[in-house]
Amino acid sequence: MKKRLVLIAVFTVSLLLILPFGLIRAERSVSAATSINVSTDVWPTWPNPNGRINGMEVWEPATFLSIGRDVISWVYFGTRPSDDGFVSADVYYLVKKSATDGSIHTFEPDIAATDALFIVPGASAIQSPTNSEILTGLRGSSGAPAAVFPEYRDIWLSNNAVGYPNEHFRDNQAWLDLDDWRNFLRGTYSASFKYADTGHAPPQIVWDVDPWLEAFLVNQYTPPSAWVDRVVGIVSTNQGTLQGFEIYPEETAPRAERKWVTVPNPVFRQSIFHSLRKMYAGVFKRLTLMDGPFTVRDVEIDGTWKRILVGTTGLGTPQSVKPQDAWDTLAQAPGLIPQPMPTMEESGRGRIFGVYAYDITQLATTPYASTLKPSWSTTKVNFTHSGRNFSGFYPVNSSNTTDSYNGYSNIKFSVSKPLIGYTAASSARTWHTILLGVDANNLYRWIDANPKDGKNLQNALGAGVFTRPVKLDDNNKIIVASQDEMLTAISDNGTILSAEQVETLYPSRILAAFPPPDYPLQKPLLSSIYVYLSNGSLYRWNLNDGEAPKWIATFQNKKGLPLAPLTDFDISYLNGKTYLAATVAFTYNGASAHQTSGLMSVDLTAVESMDVTDRVFQRDPVAGQEGDIVSSPKNDPIMLVQLQGAKGAYTTGTKEVMASPVFIKEKLYLAYYELTTSKKINLSRLYVIPFASMIGSGNIQKLTDIPGALYELEEQRVVNMFVDSKGNLVLIGEEGETLLSLPTGLEYAGVGSGSAASTFNKMSVVYWKKL
C-alpha cells in the first residue's frame, strides 16, 4: 500500500512538472502563434518586389547596335501573372557564318546544375561555397555588411528562454535548403525557367580585342592573352547573378555553353531573399537585384593592361519590413509573432544600391576565384521605418580603405550603363569609370571613379551635378539663370509617372564619342562624353580637358514634357557638323510614352550656334502622323519621325525598336516592329534616312518618295538588327531567318577580332641569310 502511494505521488509530481513543458510544446506546434514583444530597431527588411509602372514593363531588351560582328545576343522575357510576379528570361545567341555560307544560327546556351558557382561575400570570391561559407557571409561580421538590415541579431526574439535571430542564418539552421538557392542561382531549380529577367541590363558580347584601342594605340595596347580567339557572352539577371557563356561560332553547329555564375558582393546578401520570398509566398517574386547594365573594357592599371567589368545593381532593391508572420511561416521561430510591427515611412522608400567591379584579365574558359576576381564594390543601404532610420555605406576593396568613396553615398540608383575610358591631357593615360545616376533629391548625379579601386577621382565634388544655364521664370519665360538638372515627373491626361518612374522607364544615357575632327588629339579618349538625361536635356562633357559637363539643349514635346531617350543614342560627324540620333518618347494624347515614340535626329552644330535661351526645344510631330513622314520645319535643326504604322488616332498594342539607331555612311538606320491592339504582328520597318539633307527641309517629307529610305515588312516581325562582318545591315525574323540584308557601304579591311577580312594579296622577302 505504501509502495503504491509512493508511485502515485511520483506520477503526480511528474505530471505537474512535465505538463507545462508539454503545453508549451503543443502551443509551438500549432499555428495559433504567440505574440512576443520585440525591440523594433533591428526588425529586418526584405527586398520589395518590383512591378510594372502604369502597365508598362520596366526593362530594356533593346541593345546597343552591334556593328561589324557575326555574333550577337538578346533576351526574351516571359509573361508575368501579376504585377509583382517573377519574370523569367530566355537568352539567345545568333551566329552568322559570313566567312562561309552566310547561314544564320540561333540557339540557347547549354547550362548545367554543375556549372561553376561563385559568391562574393566581401572582397574575395568563393567557388562552390559550402553552407557554412554562405551563412557566414550572410551573417556578416563586425564592421562588414550583413544580409540582415539594419543588422544581424543572433538573439532577438526570445520566448521561454529560447532565443531566435531576427533572420535565422545560424550555421545550425534547418529551415532553409541552401541547395534550393544554389539551384535557383544556376537556373536549374525548376523546368519552367532558367534565368530571371535582365532588367535594364542588355546582354553583352565580349571579344578578344578592343578594336578602338587596337587601331589607335598601335604598339601600346596589349589585349589579354587569356581571351585570344574567344567570344564570350555575359548576362546580368535579377536572380542576383552575372553569368558567362563561351560561344563557339565556328563549329559546324554553333553553340554556347555556360561556364560560370557569380553573385557580386552588393547582391549576394539580397539574393538569398528570393528563397525566403518563395518560402513565404509559395512563388518567386520579381526582385530587382542585378537590374543594372555593365560594361567590359580594357584599361591600364598600374601600367598593366587589364580587362575589367564594372556594373551597377540598376534600380537597386527597394526594401519593406519583413512580414510579421514570416518567422512562423518560414519556421524560423515556429509559432512566434513579434510585435509591434514597424511601418515603412513611405512604401518602397528604402533602397539597397551597389556598384561592383571584376578583374577578368585572366579569366579563361575554366574559371577560378582567382581569375573571376572581384576588384571592388560599394553598397549603399538606406531605409526609414518606424523603428529605425538606417543608412549604411560599405565600400570594399583589396586595401580595405574607405576614403574617397563619398560620391557613391549620393547615388540612390543608376540605370545607365557605366562608361569606361581614358583621358590623356598629358602623355600618360588616366583611366576613368563614369557612373550616371540620381540622388534622393531627384538630382542627376555623376561619379568620376578610378577603375582600379572605384575611388572618386574628383573626390572633392562627391557626385557631380549637371547645371543648365537657363530656367523658366515665374512667367514661364526662359531666362539665363543656372539650375541643376532634376528628374521630371510626367502627368499627361491620365498618364502619371513620378520622377523616379520616368528615370526607371526611360533611363538616362551616357556614351563617349570619338573627338570631333578639329580636336587636337584624334584618339578614342574622353573628350566628347554625351549625356542624354531622361528629362530631355543633352550635355557634352570634355573630361579630357578637365571641363564640367556642358549643356547643349533640352528637348521637349509641345506640352513641355521631356523627349526622353528610349534607347542608346548615336553621334556622327559629317561635313563639319555634329549630328545626334535618338529614339525618344513623345508622350502625348494620354497614351503611354512607349506607344507614342519616335526617331529624332538633331544638327547639334546648328543648335549650339543658337542663343542659350532658344535651346529649349518643344517639338513633336502631328499626333497620329504615319511613320513614313519626316517632319523638320524649314531651317529647323531637329528632324522627327513618329514610329507608327498607319495614320490617324491609331494606337498599337506594342511597339519595339530592335536596337539603338545608328549612323552609317551618311544614312540613319533604325528598325522597329509593332503589334496591333490584338497583339498580332502589324508590320516591321527599317528606316534608311539621308538625315543631313532632310533636317530643316520641310515639315512633310515622305520617305516613300526617296528610293531606299524605307523598307516595310508587312505582317513580319523583326526580332533583331545588326551589321555583320561584311558590312550588311541584317534584319532577323522570328524563325531566325534573314528578312533583309542591306549593304551599308562599310568595307572591312582588317583581320582578327571576329571580323571578316579582305585577303592579303602580296608577299615579299625582306631578307635572306645563311645562319
Partner: protein
Amino acid sequence: MGVEKPMTDLGPKLAPTVKRRRGMALPLVILLVIVGFVFVGVGAYVVRNLFWSSQGVVIESKLYNAAQSGIEWGMGQIWKNKDNIEADLITIPSGHDVTFLQVRQDNTAEGFGEDMYLALDDLPETESGITLTVRLLDCNYSLAPGVTVSDLPPRVLAGTGSGGTGTPTIPPGTSVIIDPSHFLPLGGGVTSHSFVIRSRATGFGRSTELESMVVVEK
C-alpha cells in the same frame, strides 16, 4: 747528175779522247725512283684532297638545296594560309622558348593552346640521309615582363593603318561612339604581317640553316 763521194772515216781520230770512268747508273735510278715516288705521293695526296673537297662541296650543296627548298616550302605555307593566320599579338610567357612563336591559325572555335598551331603540309622530300626542319615564326610578338628568350626572330608588329600614314579614320557620317561592339572599318586593321622562316637541313655529319623574313601585305 751528181757524183757520190765516199764517206770520211773519222774513227781513228776520236778514239784517243774517250776516258774510262766508274758507273753512276744505280744511284741515279734510285734517285729517279725516289723522285718518282714523291711525285706519285704528292699526286695521290692532291688527288685525294681534290676528291674530298669536291665531295664536301657536293654535300654542302645538297644541304643548302634542301634548306632552300624548306624556305620555299615555308613561303608556300604562309601564302597558302595567309588569310587564316592569327593576327593577334603573341606574348611569350615565362618558361617557353622561341617555338612558342610558331604561327597559329585564327580559329575562334578553339581555345588558346598548342592545337592552334597552323596545320601544315608535309615537308618537301630530301635526298636519303638529309633531314629537314622548318619553323615558321610569327614576328608579331612581345615578351611577358621579365621573360628572356634566345634566338628570337626580329620583332615586327603587325602593321596597321590606312594607306601609308597608318592613321585610322572613321567613315564620314558614321557612328563615332567608342564601344567595342562598334567594330568599324577604321583602316587601322592589320595590313601587313611579318614572318621568319628558319630551315635547317642536316645530314652526313653536317647541317645548313637558312633564314628568310617574308611579309604579307594588303
